[in-house]
């Protein structure tokens, strides 16, 4: 049960990434970024069709799924996973979104800055453990 999670900013560059477990181990870690980046196009298509923030599964790669969540400020939260767990993933995204909004409240943090705070990372992993 491994996952790869990334927060992609408005300029399509990742501002946070976390590998939980070890997905795609035989293909190399760089493939995670590649798959999520390719899935961004699908996110861009689907996000206009629905007013929801949670976009469910947007893309499939071999037997891995990519789920996405888009915030009001067009920040994409993307998760690479192999098992279908819609409710858990939706709760995960909601909680990480709240966490992101909290870190945005920091006046020293600008939108699209990379998030390299270890406390943020720890909280994301805790949320992942709780819901995924």
């Amino acid at each position: 049960m491994s996952y790869y999670f990334a927060i992609v900013g408005t300029r399509d560059s990742p501002i946070y990434e976390a590998a939980i477990g070890n997905p795609l181990k035989d293909d190399g870690k760089h493939l995670h970024q590649f798959v999520l980046h390719a899935a961004l196009d699908f996110v861009d298509d689907i996000m206009w069709t629905t007013p929801n923030m949670y976009l469910r599964v947007v893309d499939k790669f071999n037997d891995w799924f990519v789920s996405a969540f888009v915030s009001a400020g067009n920040i994409r939260f993307m998760l690479l996973h192999d098992s279908k767990n819609e409710d858990g993933i939706r709760n995960f995204f909601t909680d990480v979104h709240e966490l992101y909004v909290k870190s945005l409240m920091n006046p020293f943090y600008e939108v699209n800055d990379p998030i390299d705070n270890p406390a943020f990372d720890l909280k994301v992993r805790t949320i992942a453990r709780r819901y995924l």
């Binding site: 888009v70 909004v101 945005l104």
Partner: protein, 199 residues
């Protein structure tokens, strides 16, 4: 006192902040915090801070033109608006249309910041929106000038901060805009938003 004025929309949750910023809970009047229960700030304190911002900025910018002060106030508003809107739009459905975004600004955003909604919204459907507030809360208690014209003249610099607030809010939602404000007589004021069409 450092030369940079602190921005005052910093909010932190009562679980401790995420980054290393010290917790300081000032929140826009009426905004709901992410912790349980809304964090409120006394409105007179907010007014006092805003009114003081003008002279304080002018004193801090020695030798600069007045336009530099306006620019700084607008940028302060921009930063505040960006962060505030992400928080206020958190539970709202995503926006499909420019008109929806401006209506959100007129209703929820205005309600959170000024405790009332915008009185009048006009548009030419080509990217220009005019928001009219007949009883702008930040001007309601302004006094000291003899004529209405003088009072309006004195309060005009303070319109830059709400301009920045709106521009930041729209930028936070992904729209590059130009926002201008004017007042024919306080407490009435009008904000004009120009959104670049064909986004």
């Amino acid at each position: 006192m450092s030369s940079a004025l602190p921005t005052y929309s910093t909010t932190s949750v009562s679980g401790g902040s995420i980054n290393n910023a010290p917790p300081s809970s000032v929140s826009a009047v009426g905004a709901t915090s992410l912790a349980s229960g809304p964090l409120l700030v006394a409105e007179p304190a907010l007014f006092g801070l805003l009114i003081e911002m003008g002279p304080a900025l002018e004193a801090a910018m020695t030798g600069g033109a007045r336009e530099a002060v306006f620019f700084k106030m607008e940028m302060l508003g921009y930063n505040v608006g960006q962060r505030l809107v992400e928080r206020l739009a958190k539970d709202h459905a995503r926006f499909t249309d420019t008109l929806d975004v401006v209506k959100f600004i007129c209703k929820e955003f205005w309600m959170a910041v000024f405790r009332k909604q915008v009185d009048n919204l006009k548009t030419n459907h080509r990217g220009v929106y005019v928001l009219q507030d007949n009883n702008f809360r930040w001007f309601m208690n302004a006094s000291g000038a003899t004529t209405l014209q003088d009072a309006t003249q004195a309060m005009t610099p303070f319109l830059w901060f709400p301009c920045g607030l709106i521009r930041g809010a729209l930028a936070g939602l992904g729209y590059a805009t130009v926002v201008m404000a004017e007042s024919v007589g306080i407490p009435q004021c009008t904000f004009q938003i120009k959104i670049a069409t064909g986004r």
